[in-house]
Amino acid sequence: MTQSCAVLFFGRLKETAGTDRMDLIVDMPCMIDDLIGRIADIYPGMADALRSERVRILVNGALVKRSDTIESRGEIAFLPPVSGG
């Protein structure tokens, strides 16, 4: 089954991609790492940045690993190291 996912980039990842958001049509279920491959097809140069150990990935607000699988449509966010204050 194909479903739409919103992919969000923040901080330096947003700059690398040149956008803060993209929508992808994905065959579900889909492993996060495969999704990264799809993104890298569209934005060459993003693969290494998105697979960095320092980048955290949230699916619908929950932390996931690259080996995890998305079961249905949702929001996938890639978070580079954070810094506030």
Partner: protein, 162 residues
Amino acid sequence: MTIRIGAEKISAARELDIFLERCRGSGAIASFSGLVRGTTRTGEDVQSLIIEQYPEMTRLSIERIADAAATHFDLEQMIIRHRIGTIRPNETIVFVAISSAHRAVAFEACEYVMDHLKSRAIFWKKEMTASGGVWIEPTEDDQSALARWGQRTLQFEDVLEN
């Protein structure tokens, strides 16, 4: 507990006045204001600091930090204000004030909140100079400051837990 995240300027003096009114009867109030520095670590003039957020998750992360502070310290009132957007040197990025019956708790809780805001709150910070922009990440000092809280230190799983 009050948490406000927004692009509008923060007047620490006004925030503190309002907070003092709310805290009548408290024995101690500690506050912290974080300002944009005028120069980078390498000595360049800072033009501005740009702070980005992931709105729902940023708010959640600060709520979790505030909840943890309220759990670990005997607080009475707390306010956390954090700016987003473009901020100029000398302007306030963050304001935290905490009231308690005694000063030691107020000071310690204020440090606990700030140590977590630096390295656990969901913000991205870019320092702009004439030569371009640099994304700022927590320093080793920031990491050490966070680690000193031991078992009370929040991990990312803790601040992002719905």
